[in-house]
């Protein structure tokens, strides 16, 4: 606990309302001290992002005071906040895809010229200091999402700010990258004396990393305390406004004895995926664990026929399925992709049109003329069934929060006949409450007779939701465990290659 008289940042009764009447913040008090990691928690819609926008100068508060190093400030442009010493790492990092890692990291630096050599050296030092190596000349657009996140973190570090705001820095990262981010955050506060405002959905992360923690709910700080004085339960209760349920408590019993729904025989993709074979039974949730880049998403895309280079066979109820997404959808295979914004939803479409897109033929006379009444009825039913929070079914999906948007991309597959549901990180970037609802939904769907394949980076969640877990590493399935007989530590060891032998990788098999 710092006893400096003037905190680095002090917010007094900060308010923000939008011209359309939405009140996002109703008087938030928040104090961030130097050399401290300060956790900021809250459900989707609690006002975290608005707060960050104000602090980074992207939006103006409509009431209250911001005291920066004891002085009242009012930023109207992001450049002013940056100049004052606040660096913000946004959740969707605005990187320039066509530029190199080096150019992105040092994009905001002063100076007119691109001084290649000295910048190279700086980037190298930066990367060495956090223990993460990236090719400085790699084009950012070609990097996987986890590495792009690391580029964003390097960018925030390069700004040498006294306060670094991180919005969900680990949401899309696998365990190895996550550890690096954690180490970096600690180092920033402890060794370099900077303050970090860490926004996260992961309670364990917040408990482990932060010195102080603030919880927002409905635009007010409902809890503000040294982290040591609270536990996970208290935080969760403050976030959702009621005592949480134990994530391990299973909503529904598992059933593993159903008939075989899908048999995957030798599905492989050159350079990405070694031949994989396994079966999924009705009523079963098959978990897939593995680090980022271990081939989890690639496996799902190959099964779905979305990877044109993939070969192998998928049989659904014993019948082979054609190798295209259209054939897969027609046969009853569904894929909920990892990135709902760029892969699942059509932003211009209202909820109802997004919901019926995959099985539109069922809502059309002779498969041609769309019957909007039956569409609307199905959408309204889905909204009630999945608890989607929306004004009405005509609301554009771009206006829904992350959790609700994810429910739409799952609900899409429930209005048609689906036998095998493939889910890629369905709970990434979603708040605790919605996360629990989605996991319950997945269990419920399995109980109703679907075969489910669930990819998740959150091992606790995976163990809680799955019956059986396949562990992937370097594009191959390296182990299989029953969820009831394994634990997170074992999964991490298997996925990282620390336990057992090294697999034959996809590359070697070419």
């Amino acid at each position: 606990m710092s006893d400096r008289p003037v905190p680095l940042l002090d917010l007094e009764r900060l308010e923000k309302s939008y011209p359309n009447g939405t009140v996002a913040l109703r008087g938030v008090d928040l104090t961030v001290r130097a050399a401290t990691v300060h956790g900021l928690l809250g459900a989707n819609g609690a006002g975290k992002s608005t707060l960050i926008r104000i602090l980074s100068g992207a939006a103006r508060a409509s009431g209250g005071n911001i005291l920066w190093q004891g002085e009242s400030v009012c930023w109207s442009r992001p450049a002013q906040a940056r100049a004052a010493g606040i660096a913000t790492l946004h959740q969707q990092i605005p990187l320039v895809g066509t530029l190199s890692v080096l150019e992105n990291v040092l994009l905001a630096q002063r100076g007119r010229w691109r001084r290649g050599a000295s910048l190279q050296g700086r980037l190298r030092r930066l990367m060495t200091s956090i223990g993460y190596e990236l090719d400085p000349d790699a084009q950012v657009a070609t990097l996987p999402i986890g590495e792009r996140q690391m580029v964003g973190i390097l960018q925030a570090l390069a700004a040498e700010a006294s306060l670094i705001i991180m919005d969900e820095p680990t949401a899309s990262l696998a365990a190895a990258e996550r550890r690096i981010v954690h180490r970096t955050i600690r180092r920033l506060a402890e060794e370099e004396g900077r303050a970090v405002l860490l926004v996260s959905h992961f309670l364990d992360e917040v408990l482990a990393l932060t010195g102080e923690v603030t919880v927002l709910r409905d635009g007010v700080a409902v809890l503000s305390s040294p982290t040591a004085a609270v536990d996970e339960g208290q935080l969760a209760a403050a976030i959702i406004g009621r005592p949480p349920r134990d994530p391990r408590a299973r909503a529904l019993p598992s059933a593993t004895a159903g008939p075989m729904v899908a048999e995957i025989a030798g599905i492989a993709s050159p350079g990405r995926l070694a031949p994989c074979s396994f079966g999924v039974r009705a009523g079963e949730v098959l978990g897939i664990a593995g680090f980022l880049g271990s081939g989890r998403s690639e496996l799902l895309h190959a099964i779905f026929g979305a990877d044109r280079a993939a070969c192998g066979e998928v049989r659904l109820h014993g019948r082979p399925v054609g190798r295209s997404p259209a054939a897969a959808v027609a046969a009853g295979i569904a894929l909920v992709p990892e990135d709902r914004r760029s892969q699942a939803l059509v932003p211009e479409f209202p909820l109802v049109k997004n919901l019926t897109l995959a099985h539109l033929g069922q809502f059309a006379r002779w498969g041609i003329f769309v019957r909007s009444e039956s569409e609307t009825a199905a959408a309204e039913e889905a909204v009630v069934r999945l608890g989607i929070r929306t004004r009405d079914v005509a609301t554009p999906v771009s206006e829904l929060s992350g959790g609700n948007a994810q429910k739409v991309s799952i609900a899409r597959w429930l209005c048609g006949t689906t036998h095998l549901l493939l889910l890629d990180e369905p709970t990434a970037g979603i708040d605790v409450g919605a996360k629990a609802q989605i996991l319950d939904l997945i269990r419920g769907l399995a109980a109703a007779g679907l075969g489910v394949v669930l990819v998740s980076s959150e091992l606790t969640e995976l163990i809680a939701a799955a019956d059986r877990i396949l562990i992937m590493r370097e594009g191959a399935i390296v182990a299989e465990r029953l969820a009831a007989q394994t634990n997170e530590e074992e999964l991490v060891l298997l996925a990282s290659g620390a336990a057992g032998t090294r697999p034959a990788t996809a590359v070697e098999l070419q």
Binding site: G45, I240, F349, S401
Partner: protein
């Protein structure tokens, strides 16, 4: 309940209709003030529709291409090719077979565009810029750089009948345009094909992962564009019974301007063929007004360009305002009343608006 009506009647949603109405009204008043013949006479209005119909036809197909997220610069060259094929073949094979040949040639160019863009993966702008130039070159080669003319009187009669015949007061091209527009509008609005067309342009990856064949839809749009351009070329050839190898040069820009005036997005996923037709009518009303007022053709380009940029500015700024300031006082009161404490636990925004701030998808 949302207040639907104001949004549908808003500047962004219906701006092109207002612009057309205002323009016609202004010209009518000016004509009356100057003592010229009535601007609003049936003859003049039908004349505008007639003049606009080839561009409106191509604009409708262009809108479909734009909705799927592509771009077609080659339409005017393709129309000229079809006109050349029509005139070259009509004397020997007769009118209808020549029409089929012309459409086949035009459709083939559309297919080529589609294949190069979708299957080879070259940017649509580059591919169709290439076909724009190459097909015009092909027309010059085929015609030897000279004007083509229909030789036999029977063929000429069949062509004139196809283009200049009238149903009541309406010349046939207006009817072709109206029928085609209504057909495409119906398909886009009412059918699964239309829904998927919009989805392909709105988010191609999402469409693909929903089992929609993105390539088929996009190539199909190019073929439709080619065929429609071919039909417009046949209309042009039939109007004069002759064609000049540089016929319709530069017309592709008018076609695209009509689509943009109608509010079609260049990024795909949005657009309406009815508004494109209105956009084409705005352009031809301007031309017509210049003729009637004897303003001289010199001003025309300047005014049309200004109108185009002005329209795009209204759409862009209007779109931004709509998301930022869509004032709905009811929501404000609901929020003031505080959260309603639902069992779900998560704070409940009284509309999607609050959640939107937090995590836009």
């Amino acid at each position: 309940m949302r207040l639907e009506a104001p949004r549908v009647l808003g500047l962004r949603e219906a701006g092109v209709y207002y612009a057309l109405a205002l323009l016609v009204l202004a010209l009518a008043i000016v004509c009356a003030a100057l003592g010229r013949p009535s601007y609003l006479s049936a003859v003049n209005l039908i004349n505008i529709l007639y003049q606009a119909s080839p561009v409106a036809l191509m604009g409708v197909a262009m809108t479909v291409v734009l909705i799927t997220g592509n771009f077609d610069l080659s339409v005017a060259s393709v129309a000229a090719l079809a006109a050349a094929v029509q005139i070259g073949a009509v004397d020997t094979v007769g009118f209808w077979p020549a029409l089929l040949l012309a459409l086949a040639a035009a459709g083939a160019v559309g297919l080529l565009n589609g294949i190069m863009v979708q299957l080879v993966g070259i940017n649509a702008f580059i591919v169709t810029l290439g076909t724009l130039t190459a097909i015009r070159g092909l027309v010059l080669i085929v015609t030897g750089g000279r004007s083509l003319m229909v030789q036999t009187p029977e063929a000429l009669a069949a062509m004139t009948n196809f283009e200049s015949g009238r149903a009541g007061p309406f010349p046939y091209p207006i009817l072709y345009m109206a029928a085609f527009t209504l057909l495409v509008w119906g398909v886009l609005q009412l059918t699964t094909i239309g829904r998927r067309t919009y989805a392909v342009g709105g988010n191609a990856e999402a469409a693909r992962l929903c089992g929609i064949s993105v390539n088929a839809y996009r190539i199909g749009a190019f073929v439709l564009s080619g065929l429609t351009a071919g039909f417009a070329g046949v209309l042009y050839a039939s109007r004069f019974g002759a064609m000049n190898p540089t016929a319709l040069q530069g017309e592709e820009l008018t076609v695209i301007a009509a689509a943009i005036l109608g509010g079609t997005s260049l990024f795909g996923g949005a657009g309406s063929v009815l508004k494109t037709v209105a956009g084409a009518l705005v352009l031809y009303t301007l031309t017509n007004g210049f003729n009637i007022l004897n303003l001289g053709a010199n001003y025309q380009g300047l005014i049309e360009g200004t109108v185009l940029i002005g329209a795009a500015a209204i759409y862009t700024v209007g779109g931004r305002r709509a998301t930022l300031f869509s004032a709905r006082p009811r929501d404000f009161h609901a929020l003031r009343a505080g959260p309603t404490g639902v069992a779900g636990g998560e704070p409940r925004p009284s509309s999607g608006a609050q959640a939107r701030r937090e995590e836009p998808l």
